[in-house]
Every structure is written in structure tokens, then in C-alpha cells.
């Protein structure tokens, strides 16, 4: 519903735009409707479905990815805005078989249940520690305010991020 409210165009097909985006290190070129959201581009054109959509108002953060190294909600970025930029998704975080330390800390602290908010939560947490490598509990909670989880009550997510911060020292 809201997608079309936000992105109405009269003749979508004629106006397709070429985008070139480096996703997890690999270059992708596609023709997209100008209104295509980055998250739909990643999921349906690039084929990386790890990034999830949990809302339509930029409230839940399930779609968080890194755009040129900074976390963004990819439902609030148009694919065309990511042209010539680098995106990292949850699929690009692990180093081969070895999970990123944040992923390991989420597992060790039981910081996920259904796992739907998890990719966005992990990407936001990685970004949070990039900006503040030694956060307090309050700073972790504030830093993740834009990411909603309905399963965990956040207790173990906060614990996981603090654990990851401790591991960096």
C-alpha cells in the first residue's frame, strides 16, 4: 500500500534507470524503476534475501545494511541512490565459514529467536561498535533504538553487543 503511495510514477517502465552497485564485494548492474527501494533491489534483483522487510515506515530496522560503511535502513533508500556505492548485507558479514564476531556473540548469548529482525539487528550492532567501540549498556540500548525485536525483549541482544565490544579489546 504505502510503497505505491510514496513512489507513484505515471509510466514506470519507460523511465527505468541503470544502477551499478557493489554488493558484498561483487559488482551488479541492473535496470530498475526509479521508485525501487534498495531493500527490494537487494532482495529481488540481486537475489540476496537475508535483508528483511519488517515495516513500511522506517521504524523497525529489519532491513539495515551498510552503505559505504554506514548503517542505513534500506527501505528508506532508493536503489538509484545507491548507484556507484558499496553495500554490505548480512550475507557479506561472515568471512567464509567463519562468522563475524558479532554473529558469534549473538549466538553465544541467545540473542535471537525467530531470527527475522536478526540480520538488521546484527548490521546495526556492527555499525554501533564501529562508531563507539566501548559503549555502556545505556548507549547500546540507545544505539539500537531504531531496531525492533518482538521475541527477545532485547536483554540478550544488549548482552551480545556488550560481549562483542568486550571481545574487541
Amino acid at each position: 500500500m504505502l510503497i505505491s503511495d510514496l513512489c507513484k510514477t505515471d509510466s514506470v517502465n519507460a523511465n527505468n534507470v541503470a544502477v551499478q552497485v557493489k554488493v558484498n564485494g561483487a559488482s551488479h548492474s541492473h535496470e530498475v524503476e526509479p521508485r525501487t527501494l534498495l531493500v527490494h533491489y537487494l532482495r529481488e534483483d540481486v537475489g540476496l534475501t537475508g535483508t528483511n522487510v519488517g515495516c513500511d515506515t522506517s521504524s523497525c530496522g529489519a532491513c539495515t545494511v551498510h552503505l559505504n560503511g554506514e548503517s542505513v535502513k534500506s527501505c528508506t533508500v532508493l536503489a538509484v541512490q545507491a548507484d556507484e556505492m558499496e553495500v554490505t548485507t548480512i550475507e557479506g558479514l561472515a568471512n567464509g565459514d567463519e562468522m563475524h564476531p558479532m554473529q558469534t556473540c549473538f549466538m553465544n548469548n541467545h540473542a535471537l529467536q525467530c531470527g527475522y529482525c536478526t540480520p538488521g539487528m546484527v548490521m546495526a550492532s556492527v555499525s554501533l561498535l564501529d562508531e563507539n567501540p566501548n559503549p555502556t549498556e545505556a548507549e547500546v540500548r540507545e544505539g539500537l533504538e531504531g531496531n525492533l525485536c518482538r521475541c527477545t525483549g532485547y536483554h540478550n541482544i544488549v548482552k551480545a553487543v556488550l560481549d562483542a565490544a568486550g571481545g574487541q579489546k
Partner: protein, 785 residues
């Protein structure tokens, strides 16, 4: 990593790396996207539907009104309601797409199919529908008043009257002889369940073979398969339903929905895959809501505070239609209004009412959080009335005086399996430093601090382990309560467990593996759990009502025991010994007295597969199955203490501390138990402080998106302090009770007891949920809102 150890979850690596596949992640070529045209009015006559403009749009395949679909003969029956609670319950026919009347905002009035997600949304907006607006029943209060009709062809909004009145004379006598009585009038506001994964569906037909595979973000693929067959006439044997990774449910994915039936029938009719994923803002209309009850509870007590009688009446908001268990939700709570207390006289009545709002149905706890809220708030009101400490009042009324008991029949007629409430309360009060908190509260009150403390507690009990099938039959609930399991020792010594439970975040693959690891003395990573696909797991009744471990997990343990018994016969044959002389310990069989000669159960799989040398008459293969029908429910309990700080200047309530001592009997995986407790608590806190589906006088939901429907964020929650007591259930061989809903059942009342306690110096005796700053500030000013 056996039963009782905090094994890390086997599910996590896939979910942490984006490898897990939810419905919206699964695509097939040629798929069509459905776009739903929804009523903008809560109650309207549909005069005409014009799809011609939509059909001209690029990429649009077809479009149908409700009348079109009715004419295509797609429906063998209306959407199902499995729980006609009384014989004369009113249940107006409800079809996936409305043809004549729309009865809530967001009811589907037409559907378009297009070749893209955006194209379907565009085409849905191009459908022109002419409505004639009718008066809308926009609240439960309006429904009870009965001056407007939610269904224009009915003469009352009342759908049913249901009573649980074992002994009304005893109730009358209790109130006639009472030294103290209190009456609580509570509102359980409508809640939007808000699982993080929106619901979605993908139907894949096989035009020549006739099979149909339906992927759905569902808690109940097994029920869905039966009910799709029953409502569409598609042959059940040709249907396969798969719930892939499912992103939370909380009851909201426990239904048979219009979109699922549309995808199934249209994909079959059009010979094309058909899909749909709800948007978050759409979910307030396309997915059922929870709660929606007005409660009146009265308690009678003697001069010592011993509660002698409890009388309850509910008015329950059904919404516009009866969904799968809509009318039964209040009944699930009805048996729990006496809580953990030995109250000898009890009576309960409930009226269900139609409104022109989104239908209600199960939401985490389903009837039981409401019951727990009512009795636990009423106990605090009684304590305040008598000037007694709320902990002391509870202690005086616990079943068995707070001592350990088994199989105690309460006045609501159920037999509680086991309980031991006294030490549970003691532990919670000690962890909270209850006396210290009361001293701090007094200090702040005496000093007139701007921020005052409120301390609230509950001791809750819940009914889990749904359910003895006969009990469901007795309540007119058209479902069984059993669960199925198959345990299979593979030729190479690995194990497959087939479970009829359907996880959506609960970590079943881990817990079930631990049960097998314990039974077979093997590594849980050598166990694979197959579930959530009716082709892999044909028999099952799925996951809801905190039933998975106490019914499904128990079925697995029982099937494992049967495998052990068959393997014992094989081992005896191999050892040339009598089966009675063969001992089994930690996976290994040996003959009594000669422990050096032994064989591990995993080594017997290959012999059973070869079948070259089995005992006479024994069937090949080492696998067994069990359908377990529990003899009784299970009754977990716990004491929660909430500490809030109330800013008297702004009315803001901050949850400072939360202590939870839960007792779910024996625990298979304490890590998973803890996670369930945390999440459950926060959902109840959300109801107490933040969440409410708000409707205007025309029946429009005012806050369908996450911008204004306030799911708690990390900022609002404190860390939660948890501990446990362990009182094994007598209802099953594992002694387990269930924990999925426990947190929610305790927490809303604990927080509201704390809020009211904090405001009591202002003469406040009750407050509606959610306790928003505005409500709290008004209460401090002496204004009731």
C-alpha cells in the same frame, strides 16, 4: 548436551547469516502477486466494483470482485471457525472477499493479480468501488449498547452467552457472608500482535499433476492443510503446506486467512503460482488482533483476608467475524480467574459481541493473560482495601497454603497438576529486596520526591499443554489436542526426528535434539529434526498455547523409548540373551553381569536396515511413532515483581527493575526458557505501558503502522532478573510444563500493580492500560480518564 543443559541453538547459524528462508524469500518463475483492494469504511454496502482500469495497467493479469469469485465456485464453505462455543452461537458467513457488505476497515473487496510486487499495489489502487456507508459499531461499548448493528441483517450484536457456573448458590453465600468485597472493572485493550515477519503466502500449483504446494508464514501448517481442503474443496491428499522459517507468531499466525485461501484457489484456477506478503500497515487489517475484553471481577473475603468467592463477567469483542478460535479465547481464560488461590466459590459468564473492527483471536496467552490480570489486580485492590501487604494477602490464599501439592481440583473445575507457590514468592521477594524497596518507597514519599516508586507483584498460573482431546471436545472445540512424533535411527547411526510441532522462534530443533541425545546417549548434532512441512511431517497439531514441549516434546521422548525397546530386543538377539537380562544405559545395551560386551543403539540401525538377522517376527528398520494425547493440562506458575518510577511532573512511567521467578517444571534447555521468559515479559509490559490499537468513532484504526503503534524498543526495557523454581508436572513423563506464554501472563498485571501502587498516595485505585504519561498525569491531578 543432554536435557537440562543450556545448549546453544542449532537454528542460529542459518538465521544469523541470511541463509534462513522466510516465505517472502522464496520465488518461483511465473509467479503472480496479489494486490488486495480493501474497504476504507468499517461498515458499508458494496454497490459496485469496477476493475476495468486496473486490467488495462501494464503487467496486470486479472482482477476479481467478491461477486466474481463467488460466481467462480471457489468456496465450498465460509472461512472456518473451529470453536462454536455454544449451540446457538451466531456465526455470520465470512468469505475471503466481501461481495455485498464490508464489515470492517480493511476487509478485502477485490483482488488483483499482477506480475510484480509494485504492479499489484498500483493495480489495487486503480479498482473503483462504490460504497454506501452504514453506521459502524466502532467499539466494544457500542456493541454492548446494541443500538447499531455490526451486521445489518442481525437484530443484536451479541454472538453468544457462555457460563461456567459450578455452584452459584455457593457464590451467593460467599458474597452474602463477606467481611470485605472488591469489584474491579478492567479493560483489556485491543492489541496488534506485530510479529516482526509480516504474514505472507505463496501457492505453487501443478496444473497437470493436480498437486498444490502452499508456503505460508503460519504457526499451523497441519491445521491449514485440513481447513483449506474443507473450505475450498481442493482434495486434501493433493495439498502440501509448508511453513518455512517463520518470523514470530504470538498467535497471530494461528489462523486460516482470506489471503491463504485466495492464493490456493486462484493459483489452482489460473495454473500460475500466486503470492502475497502483507505490508506492516496492512497487517492491522489483514491479521487478527488480540485481547479486546471488558472485565468485571468481584472478590468476597472474610475478615482475615481469606478470599471466599470470585465472580466474573466478561464482554468480549469478536470483531466483525468469527475467525478460527475467536469465540473461544475468553473460555481459555475462564478457568484461571481464581488464579493460584484456593477460592472455594467461583462463577464466570461471558458474552461475545460483534463490532465493525478487525476480528480478534489468539494473542500470546489467549485469554489467560486477561484472567491473570483480573485476579491479580483484584487481589491488590483487596489488599489496599484491607490495608494489608499484597504479598501477605497472596500468601494467605495460596492453594495448599503455599506448600507443595499435586492434583488439586480448583473451584473452576480443573485439576492443577502440581504447584508450590510459597517458596516461589519468597525467592522473588528476596531477589527484589522487597523490604528494601518498601523502605525506599516510604523515604521518597516522606520527602515528597518528584519521582516516586511503585512496586507491583503477581503470582500467576497458566494452563498449558493444550490439550487432552476429550477436554477440547467437552468445550465444543473442533480439534484434537494430541501431538505426533516419529523417531528414526538411520542406517549410519544418525537420527531423524519428525515432529508435528511447528516452531517459529522457539528453538525446537535444539530442544528435540537434546531429548534424543539424552535418551540415546549421543551427540545432539547427530540428530536432525524434520518439521513444518506436511509432506515430511504428515501428522501434527502445531504450535500454540505453550504446548510444544509438554505435548510434542513428550511425544518424542515416548517414541524414543519405543525405539529403545525395539533395539533392546535386537540386542538380546545379538547377545543370545533374554531381553529381560539386557540392560540399557546412556545409549548402550549389555547383558547383566558382563558389561564389557555391549552395543550402542546407534550401531543397531544398520542391522535393522539390512534385516538379515532380526528376531523372528520383527519388522525391519528402527523407527517408532507416537501420537501423545495428554491426560491433563500443565499449570506453570511464577512470581513477578515490577518496580516503576513515576515522574509526578510529567506522568512518565519508567520500568526500573523487573524480577521474574518462573516455574515451568523440568527444563530441557534453560537458555531457551530464559529467552521465552524475557520476550513474554516485554510483550506484557508493552500492553501495560505502550500498546493499544486505537480506533476512531467511524471504526478507523488510528495507528496501524510502527510509527504510532508502540512496540517496545530497547530504550524502554530494563535488564530482567530471572530465576526459577522446579516443580515437575505430573501430566507427562518429562515433568515439563511449558513457558512460551508465561512472561506475558504475569507481566501486564505486575506492571499495572506497580503503577497503581506508586499512585496510591493520590487516592488512585485503578488505571486503564496502557498507562500513558497523559493518563498517569491526569490521575495525579485527580482526573479520571
Amino acid at each position: 548436551m543432554t536435557i537440562g543443559t543450556p545448549m546453544l541453538r542449532k537454528e542460529d547459524p542459518k538465521l544469523l547469516t541470511g541463509e534462513g528462508k522466510f516465505v517472502d524469500d522464496i520465488h518461483v518463475s511465473g509467479e503472480l502477486w496479489m494486490g488486495m483492494v480493501r474497504s476504507p469504511m468499517a461498515h458499508a454496502k458494496i454497490l459496485s466494483v469496477d476493475v476495468s482500469e486496473a486490467l488495462k495497467m501494464p503487467g496486470v493479469h486479472s482482477a476479481y470482485s467478491g461477486a466474481d469469485l463467488n460466481g467462480m465456485g471457489l468456496w465450498a464453505a465460509p472461512l472456518p471457525c473451529a470453536w462454536p462455543v455454544t449451540e446457538d452461537m451466531v456465526n455470520p458467513p465470512h468469505f475471503p472477499v466481501a461481495a455485498e457488505y464490508a464489515r470492517h476497515v480493511g476487509e478485502i473487496v477485490a483482488v488483483v493479480l499482477a506480475d510484480s510486487r509494485y504492479g499489484a499495489a498500483d493495480a489495487a489502487e486503480a479498482v473503483i468501488v462504490d460504497f454506501e456507508q452504514l453506521p459502524a459499531v466502532a467499539s466494544l461499548d457500542e456493541a454492548v449498547a446494541d443500538s447499531k448493528m455490526a451486521h445489518s441483517d442481525l437484530s443484536t450484536n451479541k454472538a453468544y452467552h457462555w457460563a461456567l457456573e459450578p455452584d452459584n448458590a455457593a457464590v451467593e453465600a460467599a458474597f452474602a457472608n463477606a467481611a470485605h468485597t472488591v469489584t474491579g472493572n478492567f479493560v483489556q485493550q485491543r492489541m496488534i500482535p506485530a510479529a516482526m515477519e509480516p504474514r505472507g503466502v505463496l501457492a505453487v500449483p501443478s496444473p497437470h499433476g493436480g498437486e498444490l504446494t502452499l508456503y505460508s508464514a503460519s504457526q499451523v501448517p497441519h491445521l491449514l492443510k485440513v481447513l483449506i481442503a474443507a473450505t475450498t474443496g481442493l482434495p486434501e491428499n493433493k495439498l502440501r503446506v509448508i511453513a518455512p522459517a517463520v518470523g514470530g507468531g504470538f498467535g497471530a499466525k494461528l489462523n486460516v486467512n482470506p489471503d491463504e485461501l485466495l492464493a490456493a484457489t486462484l493459483s489452482n484456477k489460473l495454473a500460475k503460482p500466486v503470492r502475497w506478503t502483507e505490508t506492516r500497515s496492512e497487517a492491522a487489517f489483514s491479521t487478527h488482533q488480540g485481547r479486546g475484553q471488558n472485565q468485571r471481577i468481584e472478590l468476597a473475603a472474610d475478615a482475615d483476608g481469606k478470599v471466599t468467592g470470585c465472580r466474573v463477567h466478561l464482554d468480549a469483542d469478536m470483531g466483525a467475524y468469527m475467525m478460527l478460535i475467536t469465540p473461544g479465547v475468553p473460555l481459555l481464560g475462564s478457568f484461571l480467574y481464581t488464579g493460584v488461590y484456593d477460592i472455594p466459590a467461583f462463577g464466570f459468564t461471558c458474552d461475545g459481541h460483534f463490532t465493525n473492527l478487525t476480528p480478534t483471536d489468539a494473542y500470546r496467552g489467549a485469554g489467560r493473560p486477561e484472567a491473570s490480570y483480573a485476579i491479580e489486580r483484584a487481589m491488590d485492590m483487596l489488599a489496599a482495601e484491607m490495608g494489608m501487604d499484597p504479598a501477605e494477602l497472596r500468601r494467605r490464599n495460596y492453594i495448599a497454603g503455599g506448600d507443595h501439592f499435586e492434583n488439586f481440583t480448583v473451584s473452576s473445575t480443573l485439576a492443577f497438576d502440581s504447584g508450590h507457590y510459597g517458596p516461589n514468592l519468597d525467592k522473588a521477594l528476596e531477589m527484589a529486596d522487597y523490604d528494601g524497596l518498601r523502605a525506599e518507597q516510604k523515604k521518597r514519599r516522606d520527602a515528597g520526591d518528584a519521582k516516586q516508586l511503585g512496586i507491583g507483584m503477581v503470582t500467576y498460573v497458566e494452563i498449558c499443554g493444550l490439550a487432552p482431546s476429550r477436554a477440547l471436545g467437552g468445550l465444543n472445540f473442533n480439534s484434537g489436542g494430541w501431538e505426533h512424533a516419529t523417531v528414526r535411527m538411520l542406517p549410519t547411526g544418525k537420527v531423524e526426528v519428525v515432529s508435528g510441532s511447528t516452531p517459529h522462534g522457539q528453538g525446537h530443533e535444539t530442544s528435540w535434539s537434546q531429548i534424543i541425545a539424552t535418551k540415546f546417549g549421543m551427540d545432539p548434532n547427530d540428530v536432525e529434526v524434520l518439521h513444518s512441512d506436511t509432506a515430511l511431517s504428515p501428522l501434527g497439531l502445531d504450535t500454540y498455547g505453550s504446548r510444544s514441549l509438554s505435548v510434542g516434546g513428550v511425544a518424542i521422548a515416548m517414541a524414543a523409548d519405543k525405539v529403545i525397546e525395539k533395539a533392546r530386543l535386537m540386542a538380546a538377539h545379538m547377545f543370545e540373551a533374554a531381553p529381560g537380562d539386557v540392560e540399557y544405559e546412556n545409549g548402550s545395551f549389555s547383558v547383566k553381569g558382563t558389561p564389557a560386551k555391549s552395543v550402542h543403539i546407534a550401531e543397531l540401525g544398520f542391522g535393522a536396515f539390512l534385516a538379515h538377522d532380526l528376531p523372528d517376527g520383527m519388522e525391519p528398520n528402527l523407527q517408532e511413532q507416537v501420537s501423545f494425547d495428554p491426560p491433563n493440562f500443565a499449570f506453570p506458575f511464577g512470581t513477578h515483581v515490577a518496580v516503576v518510577e513515576i515522574d509526578e511532573g510529567t506522568g512518565n512511567v519508567e520500568l526500573l527493575d523487573y524480577i521474574a521467578v518462573d516455574d515451568c517444571g523440568n527444563q530441557v534447555n534453560p537458555l531457551i526458557v530464559e529467552g521465552q521468559v524475557h520476550g513474554g515479559i516485554v510483550q506484557g509490559v508493552g500492553q501495560a505501558l505502550f500498546e493499544a490499537a486505537a480506533y476512531d468513532e467511524d471504526g478507523n484504526c488510528q495507528n496501524p503502522s510502527f510509527l504510532d503503534y508502540l512496540v517496545p524498543s530497547p530504550m524502554e526495557m530494563p535488564n530482567i532478573k530471572t530465576d526459577y523454581t522446579y516443580t515437575p508436572s505430573t501430566s507427562n513423563i518429562l515433568g515439563v510444563k511449558g513457558v512460551g506464554e508465561a512472561g506475558t501472563i504475569g507481566s501486564a498485571a505486575a506492571v499495572m500493580n506497580a503503577v497503581v501502587d506508586g499512585l496510591s498516595p493520590h487516592g488512585v485505585k485503578d488505571m486503564k492500560m496502557p498507562a500513558t504519561p497523559q493518563r498517569v498525569w491526569n490521575a495525579i491531578q485527580g482526573v479520571t480518564v
